[in-house]
Symmetry: C2
Subunit: 409 residues, 2 copies
């Protein structure tokens, strides 16, 4: 059919670029792969894979290495891996008590990283922009490759489209145009993407942690505030404006404790760091060390500490039951404070979950502690910054930003 062929002709470049994307994404997300692995991964023919990989090797994005003989019959299949220095990104995290940055190369290799510890409450937008500028300059001097993108994870409610931080109560921020300010301050002429810290922690766990290969995941990340993120059917829960996932402000006890957000009885008021410290009789600014102290005291049999953890564990189960009923996830990952207390509160949390989640979704779900620990949001932010390259690597082949690295690659 002639008209059909015209149409297909128009699409052939699109198909070609999509195939390059599948290979680069495969190597970035899964690590080194043989040509046979790539055939299995993409469904393309062996000869198509050979040609596409050659193209990526010519562009410097992929390095092919001779295969090791592994005792299997037939010709050994060369191993392709992403070239981490051909394309690097900057991943940044802005938490309530530290600022961290990492330079991550294609394939997910961290080439350099640095963290500045900061006092809670001291992080004005000006201070944060200055800290990030300083961290970035020092890391880029060490790595000497210009980044193709910058991702920033911030403990606040973020509008993804333009990087506006609507509200970051734990930083004391409201309506900070962080995307614009960083673009200007860093002067790197590459896209700056801003996202919520829990969303980025989840992205990191999904790409490189506990949730690899899992399509329905809920991530809970509590410290001063309780944030969250979800992957639903393999895609991040964004909502219409990118604000989705604010699970800390689900009302679980509307006659309870006033929340910083203006409501009463939000989940955060029962399971946040503040609730745990108050119940354990510690000052509200005791922070992460305070939480460690509560865990130590409970282990030593101090009743107030044990009761405080019991309370938080029980309400953790109550809120999770609701979220499990709403989202039917396969996996719940507890990050930050909730990851640290998980082993201790697990029995009481599971009792509430068993009692309050419907049997069917309860049977589908496992609750685990986060696997990546500190720095997960920065790693997720780096993944976010890689997204345009992974979606269309060919668009970056001739990019001016990449050209200087060809010599050093």
């Amino acid at each position: 059919m002639r008209q059909g062929r015209v149409d297909i002709g128009q699409r052939s470049e699109t198909v070609h670029r999509a195939n390059l994307s599948a290979i680069v994404r495969g190597l970035h997300e899964r690590g080194p792969l043989s040509r046979s692995d790539l055939v299995a991964l993409t469904g393309l023919t062996r000869s198509a894979i050979r040609a596409l990989v050659c193209e990526l090797v010519d562009a410097g994005m992929v390095i092919e290495e001779p295969a090791l003989r592994r005792g299997t019959p037939g010709r050994p299949s060369p191993i392709a891996r992403a070239n981490p220095r051909r394309a690097v990104v900057l991943g940044i995290e802005i938490m309530v008590d530290s600022i961290a940055a990492a330079i991550v190369g294609l394939g997910g290799v961290t080439l350099a990283e640095s963290r500045l510890e900061r006092t809670r409450g001291s992080l004005s937008p000006d201070r944060v922009v200055a800290d990030i500028t300083e961290l970035t300059e020092s890391l880029l001097r060490r790595v000497a490759v210009a980044p193709i993108g910058i991702g920033v994870a911030v403990a606040g409610v973020v509008r993804r489209s333009d990087g506006l931080v609507w509200m970051a109560p734990n930083l004391g921020w409201a309506e900070v145009a962080l995307g614009e300010r960083l673009t200007e301050a860093l002067g790197l002429a590459v896209p700056v993407s801003i996202a919520n810290d829990a969303d980025m922690g989840l992205l990191a766990e999904h790409r490189r942690g506990a949730a690899v290969g899992v399509d329905d995941v809920l991530y809970v990340s509590g410290e001063v505030g309780v944030g969250g993120g979800a992957i639903i059917g393999g895609r991040p829960l964004m909502g219409v404006a990118g604000y989705g996932g604010e699970i800390g402000h689900m009302p679980v006890n509307p006659g309870g404790i006033p929340c910083r957000c203006g409501s009463t009885g939000c989940w955060e008021t029962e399971v946040g760091e503040g609730a745990l410290l108050a119940l354990a009789g510690l000052p509200p600014d005791a922070g992460r060390e305070g939480v460690e102290a509560v865990l130590r005291e409970a282990a030593a049999g101090v009743p107030t500490a044990a009761a405080a953890l019991d309370h938080v564990g029980r309400w953790l189960g109550i809120g999770l039951a609701g979220l499990v009923n709403i989202l039917n996830p396969q996996l719940v990952i507890l990050g930050a404070m909730h990851g640290r207390i998980h082993a201790t509160v697990r029995p009481v949390m599971e009792v509430e979950l068993d009692r309050r989640a419907l049997r069917a979704p309860r049977e589908s779900v496992h609750v685990v502690a986060a696997s990546l620990g500190v720095g997960a949001p920065a790693r997720g932010a780096a993944e976010l910054a890689f997204e345009p390259l992974l979606a269309d690597p060919a668009a970056f082949f001739g990019s001016a930003a990449l050209a200087p690295q060809l010599a050093s690659a």
Copy 2:
């Protein structure tokens, strides 16, 4: 590049079938379209559209009609529309007090429908299967076209993969293999898909009602139980096993009223029909007429009725605030009982929503009553049954199930 062409060659039939799907889906979901509309919708060339439409006309799926001159310059573009008798499906709904079935033709035209009113509590699985068999036989005699698929919406928690109804407390069902039983009883040798009633009400609103073109929607549908469904980023929230959307069992008042599910203080215990009737001093089995009576009494100034609606409206706002924070929807649709009380409870509901939802997601969302009314779940179930045909119409061209209709089409 030779290898690239081999790959594209392998994909050309896939592309062709995807293009047929885009056209059939467009005509089914949007109604009659001119060739120019189809060019705009698909991004294909005019000549490609002409050939693809011809192919669909030859297969009997599409009818092309001469265009009317509409005063615009240039040659008028013929109008294509879906042929409703070329492919029909059966959409069924099993609610607590009625069973309904409809035969829906391609393009969304209801060709015949029927409803059996039933007493609450009388609907055993045997009774329901017998009722559906009777309804189906009578409708198929009237329409005289064999269906290509059957969709069933049921007020319960459903495993999509095999149509197992895990739990339908308001019907008194547990682990009913409804998919299998209907397949056997109807003997029509076509796929039977079972889904939750709220999910199907939402699908109907998304295809043909208040949510057309909206990608982030929450649907709340309360009667005896409170169910829900969501569309997130344009796709239904399913969860890992299809149980997602059980918003009625979000704990909002864990020290409150025991719920039929075994938990305490689920949203359903505060905003369900039972709560409204009890607060208004009516018997729990007063049902839909009871709700109408409460609305009439409140309008006439009866204080207990007004207070009951106030209570339900306030808790509706509290729960919606949590869901708006979690999902950041653009639209919330209130179906069934909540649609009927919406106009009355709106002020008190909006006060809680304003107070308890975070400002950013609050500003993105509108709450409206459902537009389709009774029968929305059956219409949604019919849409579900059309899905395989819409995804790959070419697979149905030569189907034995369709062949008999070619003569009558």
